[in-house]
Symmetry: C2
Subunit: 328 residues, 2 copies
């Protein structure tokens, strides 16, 4: 996509053309040169959707749960955009991708749009581009944007910080509450789901989670106690309760002015992250700066300078910001 075609894409996007949505998502996901133009344009129309993160350990049945939840919301005339985040791994990438393709098929013809995002070499890219993709879906007009993450790593915690409500999905056999605590899931959950709840141990896990919650409530100022819901996703059991609890959480956030406060906090963080990224590109992708850095390295190697003085000199000499004509 070239810059001159962008205006055309924006027009189609406003007419709710799914192909235009898809192409804008690709530009954002690839961190294309013109991605900032896309994000600037769509920003003014975003900020309306309710964003739900769904996370939990592999094998908890998250995809099926997301599927069931989306169909439930559709019944309620709520339109849904889904982002499924797959950090590509040589061991799991293929199988998961297969699931996605099947799932997209099951949802076709409904008021539901699904997008898979895959890591291209890591380095925090997905943590950065996932909320941006959610902005695009938000601006497109979906009432709800669901972000589904696989696993329990740093990415999942980052994504949890970018949504309004976080659903943590566990299953009886995963070792339950101890594993969840270890992975930091107790801290981020607004709603707990025990999926595959017809299996042994579901009630025990529920009790453990409620116990862990009571500890959390005692030390936190937040008066929201995460409910624990049992579901059997393929049979859609417990799904309407999940939808109800999410609505309750959203109302709680609004009533306590927490929705706006959290969104302000996230906005601040994002501006900081973008500033860092821009600065890095300006600093290290400039050949003059690189040459000066090489010069300083040479002096250090000869023992004529130490790295700490080199840093001072580097910061002193280069003009990172041209005040009249910023290179942004």
């Amino acid at each position: 996509v070239e810059r001159k075609n962008l205006q055309n894409l924006f027009e189609n996007f406003k007419k709710h053309d799914l192909r235009a949505l898809s192409r804008l998502l690709t530009l954002v996901e690839n961190e294309d040169e013109i991605a900032p133009d896309v994000l600037k344009e769509i920003y003014k129309n975003s900020g309306r959707a309710y964003r739900i993160g769904i996370t939990g350990p592999p094998g908890a049945g998250k995809s099926t749960l997301v599927n069931a939840l989306a169909l439930e919301l559709k019944e309620r005339k709520i339109s849904i955009g889904i982002i499924a985040v797959d950090p590509t791994s040589p061991f799991t990438g293929g199988a998961l991708l297969g699931d996605r393709i099947r799932m997209t098929k099951a949802l076709s013809g409904t008021n539901i749009f699904m997008r898979s995002m895959a890591s291209r070499g890591g380095g925090g890219g997905l943590a950065r581009t996932t909320p941006q993709a959610a902005d695009v879906m938000d601006a497109f007009g979906f009432d709800v944007v669901i972000i589904e993450t696989v696993g329990v790593g740093q990415l999942e915690l980052d994504v949890a910080n970018s949504v309004d409500s976080t659903v943590v999905v566990l299953v009886p056999e995963t070792g339950g509450s101890v594993q969840a605590m270890k992975a930091g899931l107790i801290e981020i959950a607004d709603v707990f789901v025990i999926n595959k709840a017809d299996r042994d141990g579901a009630e025990t896990l529920k009790q453990e989670l409620l116990d862990a919650m009571s500890l959390r409530s005692a030390t936190s100022e937040n008066s929201w106690t995460p409910p624990v819901i049992k579901t059997i996703a393929p049979a859609a059991k417990g799904i309407s309760e999940l939808a109800a609890k999410l609505e309750m959480h959203l109302n709680f956030l609004k009533a306590n002015k927490l929705l706006a406060r959290a969104r302000l906090g996230r906005l601040r963080k994002r501006i900081i992250e973008l500033t860092k990224l821009t600065l890095e590109r300006m600093l290290w992708e400039n050949t003059d700066h690189a040459a000066f850095l090489d010069h300083l390295c040479g002096l250090c190697m000869e023992g004529k300078m130490d790295p700490y003085s080199a840093v001072e000199l580097f910061l002193k000499r280069i003009k990172i910001i041209k005040t009249k004509d910023p290179e942004v």
Copy 2:
């Protein structure tokens, strides 16, 4: 330690006072305010020690191996500084620390100095301070500095990038070569050690590693093929062979001018990292900048601005570097 006492510490450090070494290491490890002064001072005397990284999965017997290697080098009249890096974990921290204490005792009275470094809250601190601690030991005059890391995460890969030679320690029962490949250990190893080699599977593992090496050699320009050595650390079996292979690797690096080239590369990386860190502190710990950032966030929340334009404005308005009087 206050700045005025620093000169005194440096004098004692030059007289090979172990207490002075210990205190300077603490300043560096804690990233104390005066740590840059320490590093500037000692830098001119560092760059002489041969740095060896020893890594591998938990339970591979690395501590015992490091112990045995240190005693072997001592026999050869080589002085050794050891840094044992323990990323503190609520699950393993205590037990590992216990090992360290025992080990330090076993080495007391020899020409060997050991230091444990523990993570204080993560965030890349250990990856940054470990090479700095190695600089201090290097400047103190140790011929060899050994950095031992526990586990196979990002920290270990970072440490491997900061040493001259990396020893990867495996044991027959750890699942062997597949696990090592998965964790990226095959890429970083200069020497492989199969410890506890009297157990079943040692020869199979050796063969698997040699096969994996032959693949690596075929695609790499580097003509060094990592040898695979079997050891039984508590009985000091294979340890003199390990010492010999390390000496061979050091000579290989010198003969091919790789030692200086690698050190230059690391120096460059370090200057870049320090510059980033300094910039971050300048940007985000300044109250005026924070107030301006808040103002921009407010505009975005009101829909009067988007975050991408906010970044541009932020970079334009703030003067990160005062060219006459840098705040470094």
